[in-house]
């Protein structure tokens, strides 16, 4: 069996190794991804974002448990930050998912952001594709919950879940500032804490404000209270994920196509940007020049950034 077949048949070791090769940007991984692409497009991808400490891992753990009872297979990608000083990372999200360690129907992978500023690693989308091709019914992506990762995950996932806890005034402010459109589902986790009802009420007001701007048949963001550690509210959350999926896939609607196209476009643009930049840098190096030289010239006022870029584009791309 070749690698593609082994992955499509769900071989854990091969999947795990390919994910590593993707993360390490090995050229060989690209050809495997090419071979896997025809097998993708079946999994439902759910992204989880929200500040560190709101309980994303516990929610993901509970959602996996729910879907396993329905005999659905689950892939989980949990992202933690890379230390900007040392390049190392401690990846600890798995701790809250221990009950799935021996379940062959759940594949969990921890990844580090590796220099990306947001809460996703560069390789996340490719890794989602691998788990999709490996036949996982559901792929859950847990972001770090910093920077602009709501935006990133909304571009990667079919359903985006924004997680918060009672009393997080700042987060509500952030939502007002424009991420309201991104979340399909809002979870108020640790709902046993004081202030949960208040947070829910504030969210409801925001949702209503948003509704006035929307068309009649648009998805209305749902607000769900959970206590992930006790498993409370999980049934409802999973049902809402299913509702959102059904909404996207409703017959006669273009929503699913639009969602997939959007995701594909962003991935394509990302991949193109990476490859073109890499090719350009290689060409520059081949010519015996370097970015460092160019920077020095610009700083010394022997040239300027506009001219330098113009020269590169003309010499490399024509």
């Amino acid at each position: 069996m070749d690698i593609v077949q082994r992955i499509v048949s769900g071989d854990v070791r091969t999947i795990a190794r390919l994910l590593r090769d993707i993360d390490d940007e090995l050229p060989s991984a690209r050809s495997v991804l090419q071979g896997l692409y025809p097998h993708t497009g079946k999994a439902h991808i759910v992204g989880f974002t929200g500040s560190p400490g709101v309980g994303k891992s516990s929610l993901v753990d509970q959602i996996a448990t729910f879907y396993r009872k329905e005999s659905k297979t689950v892939g989980i990608l949990a992202v933690d930050p890379t230390s900007p000083f040392t390049g190392g990372a401690i990846l600890g999200d798995r701790i809250r998912m221990q009950r799935h360690f021996l379940d062959p129907g759940v594949f969990i992978r921890s990844l580090a952001t590796r220099g990306q500023f947001g809460g996703l690693s560069k390789s996340t989308n490719d890794m989602v594709n691998v788990l999709d091709a490996a036949g996982k019914d559901l792929v859950l992506v847990e972001t770090v919950g910093v920077g602009q990762d709501e935006v990133e995950i909304a571009n990667s996932a079919h359903t985006t879940v924004l997680v918060m806890i009672p009393g997080m005034g700042d987060d509500i402010q952030a939502i007002k500032a424009g991420v309201m459109e991104i979340g399909n589902i809002f979870v108020v986790n640790k709902a046993d804490r004081e202030g949960s009802r208040k947070t829910v009420r504030e969210l409801m007001n925001l949702v209503e404000l948003g509704v006035r701007r929307r068309n009649g048949d648009d998805w209305e963001p749902q607000i769900i209270e959970t206590e992930a550690v006790k498993g409370r509210g999980i049934d409802k959350l999973c049902q809402t994920i299913e509702d959102h999926k059904a909404y996207l896939k409703a017959t006669g609607s273009q929503r699913w196509r639009e969602t997939v196209e959007k995701r594909t476009r962003i991935q394509l643009m990302g991949a193109l940007r990476d490859r073109v930049l890499k090719a350009v840098l290689e060409k520059i190096e081949q010519r015996g020049d370097s970015i460092d030289n160019m920077v020095a010239k610009i700083v010394d006022r022997q040239s300027d950034p506009y001219t330098v870029v113009q020269q590169i584009v003309e010499s490399v791309l024509t």
């Binding site: 600890g92 809250r96 550690v229 006790k230």
Partner: protein, 566 residues
């Protein structure tokens, strides 16, 4: 500002001469450079070169120091201290099966030990019977395996439980083991009203440091409060919680962190019991504490003295306690396991002696001295005897017990005692701000503070800023010890079979009825009518094993996983 003992004119002279001395000291150091850039305790608390009345002058003698047995108890909880009787010499013991440990108990009693202390193996500590798949390879290794009431009976065979007090180091399953202890004692004809001893039963420090985790924090606190309530009403001589700093320190905390987090745990338990409807003066006297005595001699003495004063003030001012007994911080001490070295293990006797001396000068009520081989495993008989003899020599040869709080009034010790209290109170205010200990634990706050301190110390050792003889200075290899305790792997199978036979014999109907009642109580709202203790005592009498009771807890209350953040 308090009432000064030294007159202003005398202080002026001290100040003047101190300045002159400092000048000379600095000049001399210019010729003979200092050994270290910075002098600090093992917790990295910086200390001055000299202390004088200038460091303590502003303190009111009666408010800060006072007399032994008098508020704020800085100098000791009794007026007589060791002139009356020595501390209880309580050696932590447990290995293999109940019979092996019973033999060790008798050995220690025969050599002058005055209280028992039981070490359970890891399956027992985590609420699993020896047959659990999670227990493979663990049975009897780090303590004694207790699955059933019969095991408990064999553990304390031929020991008068109304005379000897027993400490049991057990936390999430504490209620179950205590039920077994009470049921066994009553079966032997002893009265529960006369039983004396301690269950550690300190679930909060498990979340913070030791990670013997079973139930979520709220459920853990409910069970702890059940035992406090039951003890208050039914077992009046029992210490229902031993609020422990020991494990917090072993996890790498500083002395101040140990002091602050432990006292805050105590505050939390008191709050819970008050919420349950108990009156503070009805139960507070049965709370006891457990400190670590680490290698930095004066820091430990200051910590223990500060702890008494802090607890007295907190009980009086925060909780309005009226009974002086409610304000007493009575504590057990264990010398620091983490200060021992595998390299040149005989040096551990010296470390333990120094730490034990600090505990005695700090005014401990009870003491375990580590055996020199405890860095490898639970102690051999020979090593345990040296450790017990260490206490006896301190008590009966050195003369340090002749005078109460002999370091009281030392400028350095008093200043350091004040410093400990001030820094620990800053942590206590921080924990208040965070919304209490459970909220702080959920945020990983104490865990991270400790992890940072542990990492800092490790870095200091590796940089040579802190010295560990035989490890980073005068380093040498680990030698073969002449006595080493071995636990036979065979014990595991025998224990599993014994428990199996025990379960076969029990009356199934009676057992089920008892377990149903226990479930009913666990599911009900916390109150005296739903207190788990009476039902647990019935359940273990009806043959319930430790794991069966703990599985019931896990089913009703759920489980808990350490957040493990960095």
């Amino acid at each position: 500002m308090g009432k000064q003992i030294i007159s202003e004119s005398a202080l002026d002279r001290i100040e003047k001469e101190h300045a002159e001395w400092l000048e000379e000291y600095r000049k001399a150091l210019a010729k003979v450079p200092k050994r270290l850039e910075r002098f600090s305790t093992v917790s990295d608390l910086e200390v001055n070169q000299l202390y004088t009345p200038l460091d303590t002058q502003r303190r009111d003698f009666f408010e800060q120091i006072g007399f032994p047995g008098k508020y704020p108890y800085t100098r000791g909880v009794q007026s007589t201290m060791y002139r009356g009787r020595h501390w209880t010499m309580r050696m932590f013991a447990g290995m293999g099966n109940a019979d092996d440990t019973n033999k060790r108990f008798h050995y220690l009693i025969n050599h002058g030990e005055t209280g028992l202390s039981t070490a359970f193996d890891f399956p027992t500590l985590m609420g699993y019977d020896s047959a659990s798949p999670l227990a493979r390879g663990e049975c009897g290794k780090c303590g004694v395996a207790i699955d059933t009431l019969d095991d408990m009976g064999r553990l304390f065979a031929n020991i008068n439980l109304e005379e000897v007090t027993t400490s049991m180091t057990i936390n999430p399953p504490a209620s179950v083991l205590w039920a077994m202890y009470i049921a066994n004692a009553e079966r032997q004809g002893f009265s529960r009203k006369k039983l004396g001893g301690t269950i550690q039963n300190d679930c909060l420090k498990e979340f913070i440091a030791q990670k013997t985790l079973m139930l979520p924090p709220e459920a853990s606190l409910r069970l702890v409060t059940d035992t406090v309530e039951f003890g208050t009403k039914e077992v009046p001589r029992w210490n229902t919680i031993s609020i422990s700093g020991y494990h917090i320190r072993e996890a790498g905390a500083t002395a101040v962190q140990e002091l602050a987090f432990t006292i805050y745990d105590g505050i939390t338990y008191v709050e819970e019991a008050i919420k349950r409807g108990l009156k503070v003066d009805d139960f507070a006297a049965r709370l006891s504490f457990f400190w670590n005595s680490h290698i930095d001699f004066f820091e430990e003495i200051a910590k223990m003295r500060a702890s008494r004063r802090m607890w007295a003030r907190i009980m009086k001012e925060r909780f309005g306690a009226k009974n002086p007994k409610s304000m007493l911080m009575r504590f057990h001490t264990q010398t620091a396991g983490c200060s021992l070295t595998a390299q040149e293990p005989y040096n551990n006797v010296v470390r333990t002696t120094t730490e034990a001396l600090a505990a005695v000068l700090g005014g401990t009520q009870s003491l375990h001295t580590n055996s020199l081989d405890e860095v490898y495993m639970i102690p051999s008989e020979q090593a345990a005897l040296i450790a017990l003899r260490t206490q006896q020599i301190i008590a009966e040869e050195t003369g340090v017990t002749n005078v109460i709080d002999p370091l009281g009034g030392s400028y350095f010790v008093e200043a350091l005692t004040d410093k400990m209290e001030q820094e620990a109170m800053a942590y206590i205010r921080k924990l208040d701000e965070l919304g209490g200990m459970v909220a702080a634990i959920e945020r990983d706050y104490p865990q991270m503070e400790i992890a940072d301190a542990a990492f800092h110390f490790q870095k200091q050792v590796e940089a040579g800023d802190k010295t560990v003889i035989g490890v980073n200075k005068y380093a040498s290899d680990r030698p073969e010890l002449e006595f080493v305790l071995k636990i036979d792997d065979q014990i595991e199978r025998e224990q599993i079979e014994r428990t199996e036979r025990f379960k076969e014999k029990r009356d199934k109907v009676g057992f089920q009825k008892a377990m149903d009642e226990l479930v009913r109580r666990c599911e009900g709202p916390p109150c005296w009518n739903n207190n788990v203790m009476p039902a647990l005592i019935e359940a273990v009498r009806a043959g319930a094993t430790e794991q069966e009771c703990c599985d019931l807890y896990r089913n009703v209350f759920g489980t808990y996983t350490d957040p493990g953040s960095f």
